[in-house]
């Protein structure tokens, strides 16, 4: 078997192998059981004291959400101000300028919602102050926000009957001190050893062997790359993210980064099983997610290794696969795997240019984000899946003529209304956004924005449409990767994708937390022979069907105009 495929297999094996013990650990942390990191207790007590919060306070779901939203709003204001003023602030050795208001708006929202729609390029668009103080800061806290929300849902699902779902601040701080920070330290140290820069010096200038001037951007990158992967934010330090040889220097660093992308999202599924003492349920969920994930991985590896048929037609040797936008040290297989891992987990970092991948890969990447629950982002992925479970429970209940129940709680009108709204939100944001931008490209190509609509698209025809569809899909899924040919640094894209990001983040957090909180308040009905069991393969299949029917029905028409049409025009 070839070494590139072996690289893919070892990456997947490592991810699952590490996610299981991490899941057990996560469950213990959120349940407040004793774990080996308890030596951090004094540090955490200090944080709670300085922060002025009482970690023992039990919060109802409304209070929990209020605390979450308030601190997130504050981060947005803080981030916006720093980005807008960075040019005159310190730690700017390369003399980069401040962001325009619309770009600062988009960037601040993007990172607050744990996304990385970077309408700038890291080398010239940020300073070392904003890289560490805004971007990296938000990579930690936005990931911890998602994890805290899910921890609240764990707690709500476990309760027999309760008006509270735990303490937001407690879950939030523990997610940082017990999970994100220790793992980031380990990964960052390995990256530094592999050659990723961690310096506060500015660019290096030198003359190359052939006698040309070359400026080489560097910076405090290693610390950020670790958390960008582990927290599924994905925002790179340098423009091309982990395709950059300084961000991702070797095949080893690529394996470790790919594992880091998948690690916590997978572990959160296992944590659910340990938390609820329902391992079967966790394995059914993991199984459904993995079947979807692996079939996407196989599809995209086949497409990328087969190469671009238009280049095959030129009669040259395409043995390494489709190499436009890819790096030699990583190869087509590892880039294909990354493309699916990053879109499955709402990560958004890239190690190859998605815009240049073959149409079938683009199709799978978009579908991955449209589902947004095949593992999904840290915390939020499982929240999205939770909504699909609610809908599957409801439909199954109707099919067998019983009141729908989830883990001993009746699912009624209010919960279903919320679940339906959240499910419809994603296609609404993506399709309306794409329709609006397509309208502008066709009918108002000369609007006076920084980049005119007529110049937005880097590619003609169906692929150009895919660039817009991908951008809104990525924004609504809080993913952050892009078909980066799109000319997106202008008022229209900064503003419209900013709004999509905001709605696509907080409603899908509020919805599941509210449902879980409402269910927790209801009376517990003990399991009987008439109970619909959710930890069986049958129910897993049901959820799988719900996911694919919802995604397929909502999005296939749009996908048919973009990647599918391109596919059929080329093959």
């Amino acid at each position: 078997m070839n070494t590139n495929l072996l690289g893919v297999l070892v990456t997947l094996a490592l991810s699952v192998g590490l996610a299981i013990p991490l899941g057990r650990y996560l469950a213990k942390v959120y349940q407040g059981e004793r774990v080996w990191t308890d030596f951090l207790n004094p540090l955490e007590r200090l944080i709670y004291r300085l922060g002025g919060v009482n970690p023992g306070e039990e919060m109802g779901w409304q209070r929990f959400i209020r605390a979450l939203l308030t601190i997130n709003m504050l981060w947005f204001i803080f981030a916006f101000l720093l980005l807008f003023l960075q040019g005159v602030l310190p730690l700017n050795p390369d003399g980069n300028s401040s962001m325009t208001a619309d770009l600062a708006f988009n960037t601040a929202i993007s990172f607050v919602v744990n996304c990385n729609l970077q309408h700038y390029s890291g080398e010239s668009g940020l300073t070392y102050l904003t890289q560490t103080g805004v971007i990296m800061f938000l990579q930690f806290v936005s990931a911890a926000t998602g994890m805290a929300a899910l921890a609240g849902v764990y707690k709500a699902m476990q309760e027999k009957q309760s008006n509270t779902i735990g303490n937001f601040y407690l879950y939030f701080i523990q997610s940082i001190t017990r999970v994100l920070l220790p793992l980031s330290i380990v990964l960052a140290i390995v990256l530094v050893a592999a050659g990723t820069p961690m310096t506060f010096d500015g660019k290096i200038n030198l003359t190359t062997l052939q006698g040309v001037q070359q400026s080489i951007s560097q910076g405090p990158a290693a610390a950020m790359i670790a958390i960008k992967q582990l927290g599924t934010n994905g925002g790179g330090f340098l423009g091309v993210n982990s395709a950059h040889p300084l961000e991702n220097p070797s095949f080893l660093s690529n394996i470790l980064q790919t594992v880091s992308i998948l690690l916590i999202p997978m572990a959160m599924v296992f944590a659910l099983g340990y938390y609820l003492r329902r391992q079967r349920l966790a394995w059914v969920i993991f199984g459904v997610m993995s079947i979807g994930f692996l079939s996407f991985v196989v599809g995209t590896i086949r497409a990328e290794t087969a190469g671009n048929p238009a280049i095959t037609a030129m009669g040259i040797d395409q043995r390494l696969g489709s190499m436009e936008g890819k790096e030699i040290r990583l190869g087509a297989e590892a880039s294909a795997l990354w493309g699916i891992a990053t879109t499955a987990t709402s990560n958004g970092s890239v190690n190859a240019m998605h815009d240049s991948m073959t149409p079938f890969s683009g199709f799978l990447q978009m579908l991955d984000m449209m589902i947004n629950a095949l593992y999904g982002g840290v915390g939020v992925g499982l929240l999205n899946y939770y909504i699909f479970i609610i809908i599957a429970v409801f439909i199954s209940g109707l099919m067998v003529g019983r009141t729908p129940e989830l883990l001993g709680k009746k699912v009624e009108i209010r919960e279903m209304k919320i679940a339906t709204l959240i499910t419809l939100l994603h296609p609404f944001l993506i399709l309306v956004g794409t329709a609006l931008s397509s309208y502008l490209v066709v009918n108002h190509p000369d609007m006076a924005w920084a980049v005119k609509p007529g110049n937005w698209l880097n590619n003609p025809g169906n692929h150009g449409f895919s660039e817009m569809l991908y951008e809104y899909t990525s924004a609504s899924a809080n993913n952050g990767s892009g078909f980066e040919g799109l000319g997106d640094n202008n008022f229209f894209w900064n503003f419209s994708s900013g709004i999509v990001l905001l709605l696509g983040r907080f409603l899908p957090i509020i919805g599941p937390v509210a449902i879980a909180g409402l269910l927790a308040q209801k009376q517990y009905i003990p399991e009987s022979s008439g109970t619909l069991r959710v930890d069986t393969p049958t129910f897993g299949l049901m959820t799988f069907a719900v996911i694919f029917i919802l995604a397929a029905l909502s999005f296939i028409p749009a996908l048919a105009l973009g990647p599918l049409a391109e596919y059929f025009s080329m093959y």
């Binding site: 070494t3 072996l6 002025g52 605390a67 308030t70 601190i71 803080f78 390029s121 103080g133 800061f137 806290v141 701080i173 940082i176 980031s184 330290i185 140290i189 530094v192 050893a193 050659g195 820069p197 961690m198 290096i204 062997l209 052939q210 040309v212 070359q214 400026s215 080489i216 951007s217 405090p220 670790a226 091309v240 395709a243 950059h244 040889p245 300084l246 190469g307 238009a310 030129m314 009669g315 040259i316 040797d317 390494l320 436009e324 936008g325 790096e327 030699i328 040290r329 190869g331 240019m353 240049s356 880097n458 590619n459 003609p460 169906n462 150009g464 980066e484 040919g485 391109e566 080329m570």
Partner: protein, 188 residues
């Protein structure tokens, strides 16, 4: 909302210190000891002068050097980017065709079917420092002619500079173009 504002401000400040000051300083401290160049991009020296970064590709266009891959940004290491050209874009396909034609002009010994696609397609970063061994070997005839060095010696040089897959099992083999070209300059 009001009861949450104050804790939000205070917690934000505390976590800022933790993750944006202490954490990067810790990693920076480690970098001073375990990174190849104290946390900076590692440089490569030739005749006592820095001629490039070990991990960052640079442009080679002269016939007597091994060429790296095409770059969408002409190896601008202060503005990395890929071409972001879609696979069906006619302008892009014309560009690839013109690279093939130009390669054949400079390497008349090579049959078209043997040109590795990576030599006519742009890398993701625009800074790919590596070549596949095949893409290096295909250039031997040209360099041998231009430098008057026997081909065997060049094949041997490529062999010496080929980095095997990780642990011999994972990932592709590769050749660092800058290191290879420096070694080429040192031959004789």
């Amino acid at each position: 909302m009001k009861q949450d504002i104050l804790p939000a401000i205070r917690l934000t400040l505390v976590s800022l210190i933790l993750v944006s000051v202490l954490y990067p300083l810790l990693i920076w401290g480690f970098a001073q000891f375990i990174s190849p160049a104290q946390g900076k991009a590692q440089l490569v020296y030739h005749n006592g002068k820095a001629v490039g970064a070990a991990l960052v590709g640079q442009n080679f266009s002269k016939d007597h050097y091994f060429w790296g891959r095409p770059s969408a940004v002409d190896y601008n290491a202060a503005g990395s980017a890929g071409s972001n050209k879609g696979p069906s874009n006619p302008d892009y396909l014309a560009l690839v065709q013109s690279r093939i034609d130009s390669f054949l002009v400079h390497n008349p010994q090579v049959p078209q079917k043997d040109i590795p696609a990576e030599l006519v397609t742009a890398s993701g970063s625009g800074l790919d420092p590596d070549l596949s061994p095949a893409a290096a070997k295909i250039q031997v005839a040209r360099i041998s002619l231009s430098r008057n060095i026997p081909a065997d010696k060049l094949y041997q040089l490529i062999e010496e500079h080929t980095q095997k897959p990780l642990l011999g099992m994972f990932g592709p083999p590769k050749v660092n173009v800058l290191h290879l070209n420096i070694a080429l300059d040192q031959l004789k």
